[in-house]
């Protein structure tokens, strides 16, 4: 056999025996592609899109069109529409504006649409809505804005029709208003055909057929002989002049660099996990060199080795995260010192959780190569589903549930709560507790695995 083929065969054999290399070469990219597919909706015929971004809707209007708008929002799969809350006794009641303001501050959801009682004013023309938000995530916020605009403006013609009817009623009086509508309905029925009573009912409901203006495909070519709409004069633009949407950002208004404040936490935790996984896998080097034999022949228990390594990981992680956040302050002007106490507390518990994760990888792996392969796979997957790169809300529901099992999710939530929403130590205490519990549980499991592994034999 030619030497080239002999050496080629050798490379194939070595690659096949290296499980970590196989894992990184095939499994990691496939998993990542699958996750990105979920986020960007690349799956055909399978509804694996976002499981629903929480959107609270407070409907204070009595207009039928308001209820129609709420129903239309519910049909949008991008949204998980919330309209009620629970009383203390467990019974449900409709949300109020005060409810949603508090919930947005507490990060239970980040967007709310209020349909006020004067949504369709009795004494004017147009519609009025109120949009409340916590735009802590740029991508998620843009998606919500886009879908909300589409849904609202597709309903604007009907809403405007109702507004016209109100105006007519005010100027004509009840009797003349009904006569006018009846006459119009009869004329339309006589001229174009159809049931005059049904046409009358649609007119009463404000349906003048304007909806076709916004339901036409946006990419459709203008009909022959027609004049295309000038830029800025699309149906949505026309309606936007009569639809007044009052927006209010409830959280993060004082953040000096919103984009950096949102991103720094996620990326910091990703780099920390890579660093600490690498550090933990150095245990294999100490085993291979026989240092554990020497150390354990001294008055030292293997638990001493593990806890020393854990402490080192926490110290290194704390230092690394602090350095990354300081770099964020120097480079992007992120405010840190106002939040020093909660931020430092979160840095320490996040470092502890990441260290425990690295220790567990070393405990369940049989070689450093396997540990690094697993680290690459799990760190990337956890960053993807945990919200370090893109919003968790863009994931399918089952992945959103899974994301809450990752330390990345809670770390990112914690850092964003501090740097974006300005939460205090007491406010992030639940997040600190979850991360501390994660660190404790994972470390305890790692110690249990180490006891059963050959690491210290």
């Amino acid at each position: 056999m030619h030497p080239i083929f002999v050496l080629f065969k050798k490379s194939v054999l070595l690659f096949a025996r290296n499980k970590a290399a196989v894992l990184i070469t095939f499994l990691v990219p496939v998993v990542m592609i699958a996750l990105f597919g979920f986020v960007f909706g690349l799956y055909k015929n399978v509804d694996k899109g976002p499981g629903g971004i929480g959107l609270a809707v407070v409907n204070l209007s009595t207009e039928p069109a308001a209820s129609d708008l709420v129903e239309a929002l519910k049909l949008e799969k991008t949204f998980r529409v919330i309209t009620t809350t629970n009383h203390a006794d467990g019974t449900k009641r409709p949300l109020t504006e005060a409810d949603v303001r508090a919930a947005i501050h507490n990060n239970r959801y980040r967007f709310a649409l209020v349909l006020p009682a004067d949504m369709i004013p009795k004494d004017g023309f147009g519609i009025h809505l109120k949009f409340l938000s916590d735009p802590r995530n740029e991508v998620e916020t843009q998606i919500v804005n886009g879908i909300l605009q589409k849904t609202i403006f597709s309903r604007v013609p009907q809403l405007l029709g109702q507004s016209l009817q109100h105006q007519s009623k005010r100027y004509l009086g009840d009797a003349r208003f009904e006569t006018f509508n009846r006459t119009m309905a009869d004329t339309v029925a006589a001229t174009y055909g159809g049931d005059a009573e049904k046409i009358y009912q649609r007119m009463i409901a404000g349906d003048f057929g304007f909806g076709s203006l916004t339901q036409a495909p946006s990419s459709a070519s203008p009909a022959p002989g027609s004049t295309p709409l000038a830029p800025g004069s699309s149906p949505a633009d026309i309606f936007s002049r009569v639809a007044r949407i009052e927006t209010e950002q409830l959280v993060g208004k004082k953040v000096s660099n919103p984009m950096a404040s949102r991103l720094v936490g996620g990326y910091a935790i990703m780099f920390l996990m890579f660093a600490l996984s690498g550090s933990a896998t150095s245990l294999f080097e100490e085993k291979r060199s026989g240092i554990f034999q020497r150390v354990l022949s001294a008055p030292v228990r293997f638990s001493h080795i593990l806890w020393a390594r854990f402490l080192f990981g926490v110290a290194l992680g704390t230092l690394q995260l602090s350095a990354l956040f300081l770099a964020g302050k120097v480079l992007f002007g992120i405010e840190l010192f106002s939040y020093a106490v909660p931020l430092l507390a979160l840095i320490v518990v996040a470092a502890a959780a990441c260290t425990a994760f690295g220790m567990l990888l070393a405990a369940i792996s049989s070689s450093p190569e396997m540990a690094m392969g697993l680290a690459n796979l799990l760190v990337l997957v956890m960053c993807a589903v945990g919200g370090a790169w893109f919003p968790v809300s863009l994931m399918p529901a089952f992945i959103q549930q899974f994301s809450k099992l990752t330390l990345v999710y809670w770390s990112v939530e914690g850092f964003t709560s501090i740097l974006w929403a300005g939460h205090t130590f007491m406010e992030i205490l639940p997040t600190l507790g979850i991360l501390a519990a994660f660190a404790t549980g994972v470390m305890a499991f790692a110690v249990w695995c180490f006891k059963r592994s050959s690491m210290f034999d």
Binding site: R288, S289, G290, I291, Q293, R294, V295, L296, S297, A298, P299, V300, R301, F302, D457
Partner: protein, 305 residues
Amino acid sequence: MLALRSVTKRYGSITALDNVSLDIAPGEFFGLLGPNGAGKSTLMSLAAGLRAPDSGDVLFAGAPLSRVNLAARRVLGLVPQTIALYTDLTAEQNLRLFGQLYGIRGKDLQARIDEALESVQLADRRHSAVKTFSGGMQRRLNLVASLLHRPKILLCDEPTVGIDPQSRNAIFDYLERLNREGLTIIYSTHYMEEAERLCSRIGVIDHGKILALGSLSELLTQLPFEDEIVFPETPATATFAAQLTSHGQLSTAEGTHRFRPQPGHPLSTFFADAEKTGVATRLFEIQRPTLEAVFLHLTGRKLRD
């Protein structure tokens, strides 16, 4: 001082040690001789308390030795087979670290480090990273790192693997000196020359069993011959060699005859027969039997097979 009582240790289906019993007396230089995979390292790790036996007992000064018996560890020193040092750290940093693990501090620790480095001629390299050392230097440092706490018993697991003869002799001299000063040493090796030179008592181990135990001379008496006579395989010696088979064991390989006379067949008779057949006596070389022959006799295999 150290005793193994019917100790068995298995790794899955492999029995690394099979019902081994052994007593090491204070001040002894005990050699554990066997090929790779014989069970030497397993026995050393049990003796160091790194592993627990599946059955039987390992006793130190009459008390069971285990991972949790930290007090016993203070009088044990282990020289691992590998260079168990942090090679990015300096020689002195390594010694300081391992000394501190035994609770040695301050001036006492510094004095012991100085003494250790002097004793293995590494004092002038104390601030050099261990990775810059030659293999022999690393081995010497590996040895003294196990002695900082002044153990009463030193377990050396093949401590001279892969080093040059000069460094090996330096280590031998150092170990012999320590033994003369009263240190008990258990020394595992697959080099019979090392066991023959160093050890006052030798255990021959193979497939997890101690096959023979005793001083070198005691082991040699287990052989069915006292001497081995070596002479060249030539046409002139062919007739004489053929006659020898009725007086002992003759093996021929690579142009050399090896004759092991039966007990009761004196050398004088051998040489008289040689003269009668006209073979010059200058062709004969009498060799004292070695541990290699003992191992071959006990196992039917050479030590390095």
